[in-house]
Symmetry: C2
Subunit: 487 residues, 2 copies
C-alpha cells in the first residue's frame, strides 16, 4: 500500500511509523505491530503508532531513522507492507527454556535483530536467555560469525594484529602505546576503539584531544597504508553493528554476559581481518572481574574460541585492583601517554604494562624471539621510534601533538592511603565532567606502594565548572572511606 | 515545568509524551528518558519522544492513556517533572545475576511496574530473570502480596470459594458448571474469567453468548448477593492489574514462568477474598504441562504457597491429552454447557470432570462429607437445581437462555482416530474465526475411545466466512497427521 509522507521530524530511539487509527483498523493491524516500509530496493521494519488527528487516513509519518536509512529525502510516497511476527521469536523462546540453537537458528536471530524485525523487548529476552543459559562454545562461534556477517568487513595486507582490554580499570590508557610500539615493528594494527560509555574516557575520547578519530573505512585504509596503524573510533564504521544494538539494550540493566563479551570482542577483530590478538583481562577488587578463578575461566574460553577461527591469541591476566597511570579523564590520560612516549616522568605502571603487552604481541607475531618481546618494546620506546610513529598516526588522522592547560578549578585531597577503588575514582572523574568536559578528571599524585604522609596530596579533582567540582567534592566526602582504604 | 497540551490523539501501547527537540535538549533529556506528568494529585510516568515540527517548544503531545489516566479532558496545561531511572533496575540486575530479593525489594519492583516507572524492556528483563533463576517460595509469596497490593480488592460475606484451571485444553468449559453447582450448595463464588488470548474461547467469551460479562465491581457485588455467584470478565476490574502488564510482555515470546503462574493465579483469588480454591492442572501430550512429574511439582508449590496465605486449597491433576467436551469455540462450548445443565445428550467427559471438580470443592468447604462430594454435585445437576442457578446468574447478568443456529458454512472430516491433538484442534478453531466470530469453531462428533469407522465424521469445522473455512481446511490438509493420530 502506498502512503503519502507527512514530515513531523520525530525521533523515538527506534524505527516507528504513525498511521491514522482508521487506516490501522482497516488494515487489520494493531498499535505495536510491525510493518515493512519500502523505497525501491531499500526496506526497513518499523513498529506502528496510531493517531486520530494531524494525519489523513492516506498519510504516514515516519521517524528520522527511517528517513535516513531509506534515503527518503525527496520522496513524497512510501510503500507499506504487512508482515508476520518473525519466526525468531520462537527461537528465542527455545533458548529461554534452555535448549541449544544451531547455526541457522542463531543466524536468523541475529539477522532479525540487524534488520529491526525484533523489537527491543524481544532483544531483551534474547540477551537474558543468553546470559542465563550460557551458550556452548559452538553456539558462541555461530553467534560471532553471525555478528561479523551483519556488518562490513575489510582485509588488509601484512601481519594484521590487534589488542583488546575487557575494561573496568580507571586510566589504563595502554592502547596508543602498544599500537605505536608494534606498528614500529612492522605489524599492521587497525585499532578501532569506543568512546566512554560508563567510564570517564574511552581511547577514542583520549585520541580526540590530538586528532580526528571519526573516518570512513576508505580513509582508515589510507591511514593504515601510511603508518601501519590507526587509532580511530569504531562506532560509525558498521563493523558487527548488531553488537552495538545488543550492547545498548544490555546496558539498560547494566549486565555483561560472557557469551556476549566473547562474541562482541572477537567479531570486531575478525571484521577488520586481524590474525593475531592480545587480550588483557584485568582482575581484582573493584575491577570488572573480581577473582582470578573467573579470569582464568574467561581466558580458557577466549583461547578455545579463537582456535575455531584460526586466530592466534594470547590472553594476559593483569593486576586490576587499582587505576593504571596517573590521569583519569581525556586530557589527563593523553598527558600520561605522551609522558611515556617522550620519556619524561612516565607513570611507571602504565609504561610497564604497555611494554609487557606490546612485548607479548611482538612475540606472538614472531616479531621478537620468545622472552625478548619486552626488551624489544622498551628499545623501540627508548629510541624515540614509538613517539615518532605515534606522531605519524596523529598527523595522518589530521592532528598534531600539542600542549594542554589544566583547569584552574581543582580540589586537592590530602590523605595517606593503602588502596584506591577503581569504580569510585572513575565515578569521581565522571562527576567532575568526563567524558564531555575533556579537561575535567582526576589526577593521582601517589600510587599504590608510594609512601605518602597524611599532609601530602593524594589526588586532585579537576573540573571545568564550579558546580560539577562541587558535586565531585560532595561525592568524595560521602564515600571517602569507600574510595580510599587507609593504612 | 508547565507545558501547553496539543491534542494529537495518539496511541503507542504505553504512556508516551512528545516534546520539541529543542525543549528536550534544554532540559538535558534524551529520547527514551522518563518524565513525570502531573495534573493536581494525579501523576503518571511517561517515556519521551521528540519532534522537530508540529509542536512549539512550549507544547506537549501526550498519548491517549495519559489523558485518560490523568483525567485531562478539560486541561490546557500539564506539569512535567524530570525523574531519575528507578532504583528497581538495580534490583532486577540483582535477580538476573541469581540473588534473592527481599520483601521490600520485590514490592519496589512491582510498584514500579504498576506506576510505569519501568519500561517494557526493563520488565522483560525482570520476567526472564524470574523465569530462569526461579524464585524461592518466600519470594513468590512477596510477589503475590505485591501484586494484590497493586490493585483493587473486595471482601464478601459467607464461604467464598473459587476454581481455576491453568489452561491449555481445547473445550474444557467446566467453569459455568462448577460455579452453578457449588452456588446451589451455598458457596459464594466471585468467578472472574479471561477472554481468549491464545485459545479459541475463554469463559468470558462463552458466557457472552447468553449475557453481559463486563460489569463494575459494585454491580458484581449485586449479582453475587442475588445469586451467590457471578461469571464475569475479570479484565476491566483492576484486580492485581500489574499481573496483566506482566502477562502482556510474557506473551510476546510466549513463555509461562512457574513463578509468574503461581503469583498470578493466587493474587487474583486473594483480591476477591476467596478462602477456598480448587485448582485444575491438566497434564499430558499436547497440554500446557506435558508430564505428571512436572504437574506434581507445580501442585506441591501451590499447596505450600497457599498455606502461607491461609488459603484452603485442593489441587487436582487431570487427564489433559485430549479436548474435553465436543465443542471448541464460543457457541459450540455454551451448547455443551447447556446440554449438561439440561441433561440432554451431555458430553460425558465434560459432565464427569465438572462433577468431579464441583465435588472436590464441596468437600473442601465441608458442604459435602468426604467421599460424597460427587454424589451431591450429581444430585444438584439431576434435580435441575444447577440449571436453575445458572439461569439466575445469566438473568442477573442481564441475559437469557436462548437457542442458537449453527453456521451453514462447514466442512466435515471423515476419519478413524486414536488421539486428537489439543493445540492443533485449538488452532483449527482459531483459523475458522474464533474467538471473534462466535459461531465459528470445531465440533468433535467422536471422542477418544469411541469406535469410529473410516467413513464416519470425526469432526466438523464451522465458520462464518468462506475464506476462513478455506484457511482451516488448508491447515487441516497440511497437518492431518499431526492433528489426528490414526489407529
Amino acid at each position: 500500500m502506498k502512503f503519502k509522507i507527512k514530515k513531523l521530524g520525530f525521533l523515538t530511539g527506534m524505527p516507528v511509523c504513525i498511521l491514522h487509527e482508521s487506516t490501522i483498523k482497516k488494515m487489520g493491524l494493531h498499535v505495536g505491530n510491525r510493518v515493512l516500509i519500502k523505497n525501491n530496493n531499500n526496506k526497513i521494519i518499523s513498529v506502528i503508532d496510531s493517531v486520530s488527528k494531524i494525519l489523513h487516513p492516506e498519510e504516514i509519518a515516519i521517524s528520522q531513522d527511517i528517513y535516513e536509512s531509506l534515503d527518503l529525502d525527496h520522496n513524497k510516497y512510501v510503500d507499506v507492507e504487512i508482515i508476520e511476527p518473525p519466526h525468531s521469536i520462537e527461537l528465542i523462546k527455545k533458548k529461554i527454556i534452555g535448549k541449544r540453537l544451531n547455526k541457522k537458528e542463531i543466524n536468523e536471530i541475529i539477522s532479525n535483530i540487524s534488520n529491526n524485525s525484533l523489537t527491543e523487548v524481544e532483544v531483551a529476552f534474547f540477551i537474558s536467555s543468553v546470559y542465563d543459559k550460557e551458550m556452548s562454545l559452538k553456539e558462541i562461534k555461530y553467534l560471532t560469525e553471525a555478528m561479523v556477517k551483519s556488518g562490513k568487513t575489510f582485509q588488509l595486507k601484512g601481519k594484521v594484529a590487534d589488542k583488546h582490554c575487557i575494561g573496568g580499570i580507571a586510566g589504563n590508557r595502554t592502547t596508543p602505546l602498544v599500537v605505536s610500539i608494534c606498528a614500529c615493528a612492522g605489524l599492521i594494527i587497525p585499532k578501532t576503539s569506543s568512546r566512554a560509555i560508563t567510564s570517564a574516557a574511552g581511547t577514542a575520547d583520549v585520541m580526540e584531544m590530538l586528532c580526528k578519530v571519526d573516518f570512513p573505512i576508505s580513509e582508515i585504509k589510507r591511514i593504515i597504508k601510511k603508518t601501519n596503524a590507526c587509532l580511530v573510533w569504531g562506532g560509525s564504521l558498521g563493523l558487527a553493528p548488531v553488537d552495538d544494538k545488543i550492547i545498548r539494550i544490555e546496558r539498560i540493566v547494566n549486565i555483561d554476559s560472557t557469551t556476549q563479551l566473547l562474541a562482541s570482542i572477537l567479531s570486531k577483530k575478525i571484521s577488520v581481518g586481524s590474525k593475531y590478538v592480545i587480550i588483557d583481562i584485568p582482575y581484582g577488587q573493584s575491577a570488572k572481574i573480581e577473582t582470578k578463578k573467573h579470569a582464568e575461566e574467561l581466558k580458557k574460553k577466549f583461547i578455545k574460541l579463537s582456535k575455531m577461527f584460526n586466530l592466534k591469541i594470547e590472553v594476559v591476566l593483569t593486576e586490576g585492583s587499582e587505576p593504571i597511570g596517573n590521569g583519569i579523564g581525556p586530557l589527563l590520560e593523553i598527558e600520561d601517554v605522551l609522558k611515556v612516549l617522550m620519556r619524561i616522568n612516565p607513570p611507571k605502571d602504565l609504561e610497564q604494562k604497555s611494554i609487557m603487552l606490546a612485548g607479548k604481541l611482538l612475540e606472538l607475531t614472531n616479531k621478537a624471539k620468545k622472552g625478548c618481546g619486552e626488551s624489544v618494546a622498551l628499545e623501540i620506546l627508548n629510541l624515540g621510534l614509538a613517539f615518532k610513529k605515534f606522531k605519524e598516526i596523529v598527523k595522518a588522522q589530521k592532528g598534531q601533538i600539542k600542549e594542554f592547560k589544566k583547569s584552574d578549578l581543582y580540589y586537592d585531597i590530602k590523605s595517606e592511603h593503602k588502596h584506591l577503588d577503581n569504580k569510585l575514582i572513575n565515578r569521581l572523574a565522571i562527576l567532575s565532567g568526563c567524558p564531555e568536559d575533556k579537561i575535567s578528571g582526576v589526577y593521582l599524585h601517589k600510587k599504590k606502594g608510594d609512601v605518602v604522609e597524611k599532609s601530602e596530596i593524594l589526588f586532585t579533582i579537576y573540573s571545568v565548572s564550579k558546580e560539577k567540582l562541587e558535586y565531585a567534592k560532595e561525592f568524595y566526602k560521602e564515600f571517602k572511606k569507600e574510595i580510599i582504604e587507609y593504612c
